[in-house]
């Protein structure tokens, strides 16, 4: 009897699933430099393959504009979608308005709408609920604030989420941009939000990064929570993917703030690590204490999750406690990166010593007195300046001769100071090593990230046990 009932339930759900009308909105591809390709092409092509295998009631695309390869992917893979043109401010707002208007009309209660966003994303601004994303136009010059390019706000999707909720439409927003964790603020009883990373972190574009992996894992019949967890554990970038389920919120509330600096790395167009360390070095004691408290908090979390994952075995007359989850590599990788960051902080502090702020005046018969701090004298690369001056074809011979003479003189003063005050030279060298050490930061953050996945998965399973029977919009959104 039970089997018959289960079978009946299965066919009822299958029938219901067949009646669910699926809709998709594909947005993004902005902020990229001129050229034929964008960093989003591979993922877009993969999404195109999935798109063509499945049936969509409404499908619209507003993606990129001005890159040949991307345009080709759009034309070949999304023939069944309505192309709304380039991903501009106007088109973005228009497509959102259109779909908001469709809800309650062609998109009805029980139907699903998937909003896929893959572009550059900035950190949340003070006046935003979510964050900004890049539109088509100039290339961004800073991945933190999207400067150099044009942008729109994910806040514009708020009305859509409210209308979906009021009309019983299942909405999913998959934001694969940098700092996309800020978009989790759009979640509600009917809206599931998946982000490729946390609000403080960059997302990555590669075949094994979360964005691509998420698309790889999209399979009809799977729900968004399953796809997210599968993609999170099998992707290998340094982002911190998030999903708007109670389980994720419980984990990130405990973990995210504390682990944030250990997922940072140095990069030239929006240096997360450098900015963080410089801020910390210049901040008051409370920020230093917070850094130490956060480090302790991560270790406490690791201890707690390990203690949950233990089994007690009886060996002869004794009880033997055995770990079923070993997070010692996570503990070690965070410790290693913290020590590295501590050294870099020390280097930054050393560069602030009063001795390096002493100003000396330098002059030559044809050059006015120039006040230079010892720091400035020591940190200038005079060999490069002299070489550049000697090889410059634009300036006059007399100007070149004067400049080379001047910088050679300063170079000699730099050498004198180096010889007389070797401890200052060491301080500067530590500072210069900062750049070299920064290069190691990505691999150190990768070690932390790879090990963090075990912690996240284990926490997620633990919390899921408490919520097993409860539905949530991510679990209810079935592809």
């Amino acid at each position: 009897m039970k089997k018959i009932l289960l079978l009946a339930l299965f066919f009822t759900q299958l029938h219901a699933a067949e009646n669910v009308r699926s809709n998709i909105m594909i947005l993004g591809g902005g902020g990229e430099p001129q050229g034929n390709e964008t960093i989003f092409d591979t993922s877009l092509a993969k999404l195109g393959n999935y798109f063509n295998k499945t049936k969509w009631n409404n499908a619209s695309v507003a993606f990129n504009g001005g890159h040949n390869v991307t345009e080709t992917v759009l034309n070949q893979k999304f023939t069944a979608a309505e192309n709304k043109g380039h991903f501009t401010d106007v088109n973005y707002k228009q497509i959102i308005n259109e779909y908001t208007d469709k809800i309650g009309k062609t998109i009805k209660s029980g139907d699903q709408l998937l909003v896929y966003v893959y572009t550059h994303g900035g950190q949340r601004k003070e006046n935003q609920t979510t964050h900004s994303i890049s539109t088509t136009g100039a290339a961004i010059t800073d991945t933190n604030n999207l400067s150099g390019g044009s942008m729109v706000s994910m806040d514009d999707l708020k009305t859509l989420t409210e209308k979906a909720k009021n009309n019983g439409v299942k909405l999913a927003i998959v934001d694969l941009s940098c700092h996309s964790g800020a978009s989790l603020a759009l979640a509600n009883e009917n809206t599931c939000v998946v982000s490729a990373t946390g609000p403080n972190h960059l997302a990555y574009a590669s075949q094994t990064a979360f964005g691509d992996t998420f698309v790889d894992k999209m399979t009809p019949g799977k729900n968004l929570e399953e796809i997210f967890l599968d993609a999170r554990s099998s992707s290998d970038d340094n982002g911190m993917p998030m999903i708007s389920t109670p389980e994720n919120f419980q984990i990130t509330k405990n973990l995210y703030d504390a682990i944030t600096p250990y997922l940072y790395s140095a990069n030239k167009d929006g240096d997360k690590l450098g900015n963080y360390l410089l801020k910390t070095a210049q901040s008051d004691l409370s920020c230093r204490m917070k850094r130490e408290d956060d480090f302790k908090r991560i270790n406490d979390l690791i201890d707690q999750i390990e203690s949950i994952n233990t089994v007690t075995k009886k060996v002869l007359f004794w009880n033997h406690v055995e770990k079923t989850l070993d997070l010692s590599e996570l503990r070690a990788s965070i410790k290693e990166y913290k020590m590295q960051q501590d050294q870099m902080l020390k280097a930054l502090e050393t560069m602030n010593t009063p001795d390096l702020k002493i100003i000396d005046h330098y002059s030559m018969e044809d050059i006015e007195s120039t006040p230079l701090s010892r720091l400035e004298l020591l940190r200038t690369d005079y060999d490069k300046v002299i070489n550049d001056m000697q090889n410059d074809a634009v300036m006059s011979a007399s100007e070149r001769e004067r400049n080379v003479r001047w910088f050679t003189y300063l170079k000699s003063k730099q050498t004198e100071l180096n010889n007389s005050r070797p401890e200052l030279k060491r301080a500067i060298n530590i500072g210069l090593d900062f750049d070299k050490e920064s290069l190691r930061s990505y691999s150190l953050a990768s070690q932390v990230k790879n090990n963090e996945k075990k912690l996240y998965d284990s926490f997620y399973k633990h919390y899921k046990k408490e919520n097993a029977e409860k539905s949530n919009p991510c679990r209810d959104f079935v592809l």
């Binding site: 933190n144 400067s147 419980q250 410089l278 008051d284 408290d293 707690q304 400035e376």
Partner: protein
């Protein structure tokens, strides 16, 4: 201890770093406090405020002050400087530099780089 009973200490980064909003604008000659980035272009060193934006302002400097700025190429800085020559639109010439310090850009507030007139002075 059960996980759900754990005490959570939440200190957000905003408690550590303050933010505010200003607009950058040249207001004739005088003493300024300027946030910008130091760049080298064709062997000339310039201080640029709000680089590559519609509100970009460029400061050039005489040779001796260029020498000082060279220590900060590609670094975001805060500079206290004096302008004695009337600015030409968004181009200005540094007369002298009183102080330079390294600066951390603040993406959290997304505030544009700042340029503040500290004390007005006559142009020469």
């Amino acid at each position: 201890m059960k996980i759900k009973t754990m005490m959570i200490l939440t200190i957000t980064s905003s408690q550590c770093f303050s933010t505010s909003l200003h607009a950058a604008m040249l207001e004739g000659c005088g003493f300024y406090k300027v946030e910008g980035i130091v760049r080298e272009d064709k062997l000339k060193v310039k201080l640029i405020v709000n680089e590559k934006s519609v509100s970009e302002i460029k400061f050039s400097a005489p040779f001796n002050w260029e020498t000082k700025l060279r220590a900060y190429i590609n670094d975001p800085v805060t500079v206290q400087l004096k302008i004695e020559k009337r600015p030409d639109g968004t181009l200005a010439e540094i007369h002298s530099i009183q102080e330079i310090s390294l600066r951390v850009p603040d993406p959290m507030s997304f505030k544009p780089e700042d340029l503040k007139l500290i004390k007005k002075a006559g142009c020469r």
